[in-house]
Symmetry: C2
Subunit: 207 residues, 2 copies
Amino acid sequence: MSETSLCPTPRTRIRRHPERGSYETAEIHAILDEAYLCTVAFHDGETAHAIPTACWREGSHLYIHGSNGSRLLRALADGAPSCVSVTHLDGLVFARSAFHHSMNYRSVALYGRFEAVQGEAKRRAISAFMAHLTPERADQIRAADEQELAATTVLRIAIDEAVAKRRSGPPVERAGDEALPVWSGVVPLKLTRGEPVPAPPQEVENA
Amino acid sequence: MSETSLCPTPRTRIRRHPERGSYETAEIHAILDEAYLCTVAFHDGETAHAIPTACWREGSHLYIHGSNGSRLLRALADGAPSCVSVTHLDGLVFARSAFHHSMNYRSVALYGRFEAVQGEAKRRAISAFMAHLTPERADQIRAADEQELAATTVLRIAIDEAVAKRRSGPPVERAGDEALPVWSGVVPLKLTRGEPVPAPPQEVENA
């Protein structure tokens, strides 16, 4: 394992389409950094769960947060083995046959256990989240006070057992199909920002 | 349970922010129908996995498919208890305090076990997938031949233990924060289609 590449493990080794896999930390980090949401899977002893939640990366850890009352966070804080999935859908790949249709995407699968982030590190982590989410406003918003911090759980998972997987480019047709009279190519997809909608003045929570 | 609403179960009952939950099948179906991808969680006896894969709905089932060699599909075809997650991120909710930031989203959590779809039903399911993915081309593309069908696994899961969860609208501030001199509101997010990119003529797979 180099400093810039992770070791494949039995859980992260890509068996099908190995050319679509990458263990390069730069690529894994870039995919995570573009994400606002991840989906966390864990098993509670009875059943598997898949729960979407906000995420952000700092250094070689991925962070999540939420209310102390969250079932997800309580289960993960207890050290449940977890798998975090992040996926960006980049395009629909339209071939001339049904079988050769595909999707362009970039995804990360990350295995490990979360740990709680406490004290000053928790405060710094939340600041980093705001800098990730809204860099131009991060210095202007009111920071969390002691009560808000105490009500919030922050967890992190080391990015050391992870793999990126991605497909890009045009469809690959079966030889002979290229003459079929149907359009083929890629329809790109992108999560785009719309026009900001200012909040009305009256939205405050009940005291 | 009415014909248009599912019963909450211990796995799908929303405890925090119950006002954000819905068991209405129309709402659950609408969220699933807008999705190209779901994330499937299951436990293989040793570890939890979260794997993104294409999905489509027909009636009261959600379908996935892939190569017979896929580890995901083989584990699920064996009847592993699963949780399917679909999430649409609709906006970033910027409050005047760090604590009151949020996200607008629509998500579904669906629990159950997948079952294999065989024979003529498999052929019909793949046609339905093409109609979902590319309705205007579905009648023009070459349908899967026997060999392609035989190489493909199609699975489905009943949508009978599921819940939708969503947030929409502006931030909710702490009373007193509304005077802080920082922008607040929602930045909408939407997965949008870009300009189609026609395939170059030479992309055919090796025979």
